[in-house]
Amino acid sequence: MRKWNAMGLTATLGLSLLTGCGNSAGSGNGTGNAGVELAATAAGNGEKVELTYYYPIAVGGPLTATIEAMTADFMKENPNITVKPVYTGSYADTAVKTQAGVQAKQPPDVAVLQSTELFSLLDMDAIIPLDEFIEKDGGDGYLSDFYPAFMENSQTEGKTYSIPFQRSTIVLYYNKDMFKAAGLDPEKAPATWDEMQQYAVKLAGGGKWGLEIPVTGYAYWMLQTFALQNGGNLMTPDGKKVMFNTPENVEGLQYWVDLAAKHKAMPGGVTDWSTVPSDFLEGKTAMMYHTTGNLTNVKKNASFDFGVSFLPAAKQYGSPTGGGNFYIFKDIDKNKQEAAWKFVKFMTETERAAQWSIDTGYVAVKKSAYETDRMKKYAADFPAALVARDQLEHAAAELSTHNNGKIVKILSDSVQAALTGGMTPADALKKAQDEADQALAPFNK
């Protein structure tokens, strides 16, 4: 009996891995497929179309209900289209489920995935360009209402592959009460790297930090802020080359490392993504870099007066964008793709984009959303909501390349090595550059 136990253990474990994914996708899709086939035959007669819609939730709050209400509204307006929203966990989980579906030739019809998945999805041959649909709906006129910074991750080589939905940038949150206590002007956030350093040093002490920048899972994103402020972005728009070890980036990483190691204004080592907002809310840090997606959370839970501002500038202001876009999938019926486009358009309509932004703290993806009454009213009560929008002018695409998962890991590891003192910033970025060049080599043939 004991022997069988041990055998069973060994056996089950090894295999849960690769096959597990296939299995779960199969069963997860099971019901969807029956519907899909039915819908496909029906759609031939120009009647009913059924769409499966995968969506992740990446910020706090009861957003499943919001999404379901939005899809219900869509079905009311389009009685011949049924949308089945499927909550698929985090961005990473959603990517895994989508990928499994693509491999099993049963992709979702439409999904929200990270905007940076563009090249991976293209390499898997999973998605379709949307230009044809966009052309019918006004072409550039339609696209020009979206903020250009958000569109950057959607487009490559002249084609548009995704529509921005839940998008964010990084902003500076600061505790006005702590600013006052330290003799700083609470209405004036640090605007340059030098000021930031002075403020942070001044605010630190007595068991409190001046500034916290989250690292775990997002090291590459935070490095992008310094890169964009001090020089340029980390990759080419075609996603085939990265520029990690430029002198500007080394300087930026050095600045980041020094805030902790030299100036003791920031905790040393690596700080967790989700610990940073709780530290801020607890008053353990006077300032933090974090996503605008956290705005609603901070607004609800801060027991003190807080401010939101642009990230400080070196040569210029700058922040990468982040978040998720709508993709429409290949290998599904043409009229399903058309229905999916209708759905995507509906979900990003001006009024809805405004409401979605108010509900979540994400930046509304369309310029016109900020002209709506509901947004104007909201912004009048809570001007901080406009900061991220204003910063968009200085924002750029989030790191997105071919082989993206690997590239992101390479860069994040190196940044962590520098932050924990294992390597100098120059060596760390040199190593990242070499490894990334190798990982991208097959795409540059």
């Binding site: 056996a11 090894g14 690769l18 096959t19 898997m124 690292v215 690596v270 967790d272 610990t275 590891d413």
Partner: protein, 306 residues
């Protein structure tokens, strides 16, 4: 002549009988064998095969590369790091987890009052899902106001970033896993303790043997089968437990807490490099088979079963 005939008939009868009983045994095994084939051996075979292919984002159709993936793997710094991490993780969690489990079992077995309460208290970490436990410990390890930092601040050492410092993060993980697992192993030891005959203890008592000697000469040797079983489970767990990494560190900082299984997950579902992920899985299977083999052919013979 007659005798030989009879003997022949007898043996052939025996053979038929054996065949029949063997067939019966095979029939009984068939369902589980079928499952084993379908969900264990077949996937192992597929994994082995895929590990010989380059199947990543740059190759739309998998191409045969022989042992190329393995060659790349052994040159991969991160792979070497996760393997050594895993060894340290096993060394840290297995002996400590077993020792603590034994201690708790002896204690929970002896306790006169509140026996049930004691057992429940020791056992409860096992009942919480790893993901929940990881979230609790994420808070415990939070610098400044986490429980651990508060305790350490009484001794003057505050502001330790347990999860964010490469030299500490592994210890933090080991401590949590020992806490999580010891209660589970304790259950096996409790069962083992119940099985030891009371007479042995009475005899030892009559002879006036010290408690420590009783433990050393009676309790511990007679618990050896349990210890073996538990150590195998603990050892395989050291390779299987990765849920906490997802929540707490994502393998960081700079792979200081990364383990083989999490690296396989990253390779398969973040890098989408299925060939390499298969090769890593093969290594994982080999390691686990090795552990099982050591049990079957090595330790098993040296243990006294009562």
């Amino acid at each position: 002549m007659k005798r030989i005939k009879r003997w022949r008939r007898l043996t052939s009868n025996m053979r038929a009988g054996r065949l029949k009983s063997n067939l019966f045994a095979w029939m009984l095994l068939l369902p589980s064998l079928l499952f084993l084939l379908l969900f264990t051996f077949y996937p192992i075979f597929l994994t082995l095969r895929l590990s010989l292919f380059q199947a990543d984002l740059s190759s739309p159709e998998p191409t045969f590369v022989g042992l190329g993936n393995y060659r790349t793997m052994f040159g991969d710094e991160v792979f070497r790091k996760v393997m050594s991490n895993n060894v340290w993780f096993a060394l840290g969690t297995v002996p400590a987890g077993i020792a603590l489990a034994l201690l708790m079992a002896v204690f929970a077995n002896k306790a006169l009052r509140g026996k049930g309460f004691m057992r429940a208290a020791f056992f409860y970490p096992t009942l919480i899902p790893m993901i929940a436990a990881a979230n609790i410990w994420l808070f415990i390890y939070t610098p400044e106001y986490g429980l651990m930092s508060r305790v350490f601040s009484w001794f003057g050492g505050s502001g330790i970033n347990w999860l964010g410092t490469p030299g500490l993060v592994m210890w933090a993980m080991i401590l949590m896993v020992v806490w999580k697992e010891a209660g589970y192993f304790m259950i096996f030891y409790l069962a083992g303790l119940q099985n030891i005959s009371k007479e042995l203890y009475e005899a030892a008592h009559v002879d006036g043997v010290s408690r420590f000697t009783v433990f050393r000469k009676i309790t511990f040797p007679l618990l050896m089968p349990t210890t073996l079983f538990v150590s195998i489970v603990a050892l395989t767990n050291a390779f299987k437990l990765v849920d906490h990494l997802m929540i707490m560190t994502k393998g960081g900082p700079n792979n200081a807490s990364n383990l083989l299984l999490y690296y396989i997950y990253e390779t398969a579902f973040s890098f989408w490099d299925q060939g390499m992920a298969s090769a890593l899985t093969v290594v994982m299977i080999a390691v686990l088979l090795l552990i099982a083999a050591v049990q079957f052919f090595g330790l098993d013979k040296r243990i006294h079963y009562n």
